[in-house]
């Protein structure tokens, strides 16, 4: 149990509760993610992957069921406590709108630390520089998002997701908008971070080639984890 980063127990999610359009999108999801695991989440469009990732990322609450982050039940936490926990334990990589355009690449990587500490000290800038070097973009630190390719932006986004040294990075189709070569590069970067630093990853992808390089593949179909999926890839 001690090496569990995430545990979902009988998680259900309904949208539009109480309205005629009420729909249950996730049904009784049980899922355990151990420390250092790299998990691929696959499944057809509309099957509920993003919904699941939003719940895992503590951006959304389940309609029923329990979520434990490193053994702590988040169901009883208030908004402020959840925000703090999210900032410190979970990193985010999105499919679109990768960086905040008002900031340079380096500043984007600084933002999570800046929001947490309140002031941009030299330690924050130094760590952001290190992370930029780690994703191979130290030369692009001063660039704005619009002056970088999609693959470069996504690498910066990975660096930003790692800024607070999270236990888990959740990435929703991080390579969905990238060409094959860039997609491969970004994926390999995440895999490398996972191997070197032990950060757990939960990555949604439609790319079977990439998924096969993960520790496990989970398939979501119609809001349920397909029985039998989840074995070692």
């Amino acid at each position: 149990m001690a090496d569990e980063v995430l545990r979902l127990e009988k998680v259900c999610k309904m949208y539009n509760v109480g309205l005629p359009s009420q729909t249950e999108v996730l049904h009784d999801i049980d899922l355990v993610l151990r420390h250092g695991e790299f998990l691929a989440l696959m499944g057809p469009s509309g099957s509920g992957k993003s919904t699941l990732l939003n719940i895992v990322g503590l951006l959304d609450r389940p309609t029923s069921g329990r979520i434990l982050i490193k053994g702590r039940d988040v169901g009883t936490m208030g908004d402020a406590e959840i925000t703090h926990l999210r900032g410190h334990t979970i990193g985010f990589v999105f499919q679109q709108h990768l960086l905040i355009s008002a900031f340079t690449a380096l500043e984007n990587v600084m933002m999570p630390m800046l929001a947490d500490r309140g002031f941009p000290g030299p330690a924050i800038a130094a760590r952001a520089q290190d992370l930029m070097a780690r994703v191979g973009l130290e030369k692009f630190a001063g660039n704005l998002a619009m002056n970088m390719s999609g693959g470069q932006q996504q690498r910066v986004a990975v660096a930003r997701a790692l800024a607070m040294n999270p236990d888990l990075v959740r990435a929703d189709e991080p390579t969905g908008n990238l060409d094959t070569k860039s997609a491969d590069g970004v994926f390999e970067l995440m895999r490398q971070v996972n191997r070197e630093g032990g950060t757990s990853f939960l990555v949604v992808t439609h790319n079977m080639d990439l998924a096969r390089r993960c520790d496990r593949i989970i398939e979501v179909v119609d809001g349920r984890i397909r029985p039998g999926s989840g074995a070692a890839a």
Binding site: T83, F92, A102, M111, L114, A115, G118
Partner: protein, 408 residues
């Protein structure tokens, strides 16, 4: 990033800088509003200050006089009036009863700045064949000149008033062909005559006053007017000129005198100023409101445009409070920066008008008064307006559902 600036400040400034054109337009809008307010307020303050200065250096703030002499109706018994027609008696010139006591009483009050007993009457000024009727004010120069700044109006000679001296106006000097150092015969209506030396000529900026007003020493006037030891008025100056009316009522209540403040004697002016102030306040209010709505509109649009940024910031651990403050700050900053440009523009326009607008004789139309206070107050008010206007957009940003924001 400046290491001394907090997250909220850095983010707010970046968002404003990135939204260049929006920011430029709304700052211009605020600047125009603030400029109009600054220009109007400063001009109005100038005109008012000009008038008040003119009034208060040539008139006492409060003037005490003996109470009106009234005729009491004859009564034969309680409630029965013998003669129903009451004629107002002619008002003799009489002295204020026990005036030294009143003066002591006034001087003991902390808000009183100066008290000057004077005696007024009329006389004939004669020089050679020329004679003119004049009004005489007998004054103690030390205290009187604190109230009515005769020395500031002296155009020839000096404001000296020993018992043999007289100060006359420029018009009277012309009429009598007299100048500084000449002697005049002053003959009071009741008979006695004194020979006095002209020590100074003054120009009060009013032809009638320059023709009729003369100033002599209090004692000289008392003997000339046959009222040894008496005074007809006591002039008073207090610290707060706008409290003059209230103070006058207080004095009248506790002394047997008639007290009039400059506020009642210049009632017309005050009605005009009050009307101006009311319309000025209304204009400020509406300009402030339209500025506030402008800021709110721009920020609401910005919240919608930036909803993904907000979603990402929330995902990476930024609290609702931080997002709220980022947008409040944007409102405050817009207000503040707009007020700086607006103040500069308003002041510039005022300086320009001041140099262009001249009266017929080439003198200034209004005095240029640019008080630091006005600019500080404007900046503070504009900043507060911005903060307040940002409230609704900021709340909206803070309560944005990050899931919807990121998906959308």
């Amino acid at each position: 990033m400046n290491r001394w600036l907090p997250f909220e400040w850095i983010t707010a400034v970046r968002f404003l800088r990135e939204g260049r054109l929006q920011t430029l337009f709304i700052v211009s809008g605020i600047a125009i509003g603030v400029g109009v307010i600054v220009f109007m307020s400063a001009m109005l303050a100038g005109l008012e200050a000009n008038f008040i200065k003119r009034v208060l250096t040539s008139q006492p703030q409060i003037q005490l006089q003996p109470p009106d002499q009234i005729a009491r109706p004859l009564r034969s018994g309680p409630g029965e009036i013998e003669d129903a027609i009451i004629q107002r008696p002619s008002q003799r010139i009489i002295s204020i009863d026990q005036w030294p006591k009143i003066r002591e009483h006034l001087l003991a009050m902390p808000e009183v700045r100066a008290v000057s007993p004077t005696i007024a009457g009329s006389a004939l000024a004669v020089r050679g064949d020329a004679s003119r009727s004049v009004s005489i004010s007998g004054v103690e120069p030390a205290s009187y000149f604190q109230i009515v700044r005769i020395p500031e109006y002296i155009v020839a000679g000096e404001p000296r008033l020993t018992s043999e001296d007289i100060l006359i106006g420029t018009e009277l000097a012309k009429d009598l062909g007299a100048t500084v150092g000449d002697k005049l015969n002053i003959r009071a209506a009741s008979g006695p005559t004194r020979v006095l030396t002209v020590t100074g000529l003054f120009d009060l900026g009013n032809k009638g006053a320059n023709q009729r007003n003369t100033y002599i020493a209090l004692r000289t006037a008392q003997s000339l007017l046959g009222m040894i030891g008496g005074v007809t008025t006591i002039d008073v100056t207090i610290a707060d000129i706008f409290a003059a009316e209230t103070f006058a009522r207080q004095i009248q209540a506790s002394n047997v005198v008639q007290a009039d403040s400059w506020i009642t004697t210049n009632a017309q002016f005050f009605t005009a100023v009050q009307a101006q102030k009311t319309s000025n306040t209304l204009i400020r209010l509406f300009v402030g409101l339209s500025v506030a709505f402008g800021i709110a509109a721009v920020l609401i649009v910005s919240v919608i445009q930036r909803s993904k940024d907000i979603g990402i910031l929330r995902a990476m651990g930024t609290s609702r409070g931080q997002i709220l403050r980022v947008f409040l700050l944007q409102g405050g900053l817009l207000g503040f920066v707009g007020s700086l440009f607006g103040s500069a523009a308003g002041a510039g326009a005022l300086v320009y008008w001041h140099s262009v607008l001249r009266q017929a004789d080439g003198s200034e139309f209004f005095p240029l008064i640019l008080e630091q206070r006005l600019f500080v107050a404007t900046a503070v008010l504009a900043t507060l307006t911005g903060l307040l206007a940002a409230m609704a957009p900021a709340l909206r940003a803070a309560n944005l559902d990050p899931v919807a924001a990121i998906r959308g």
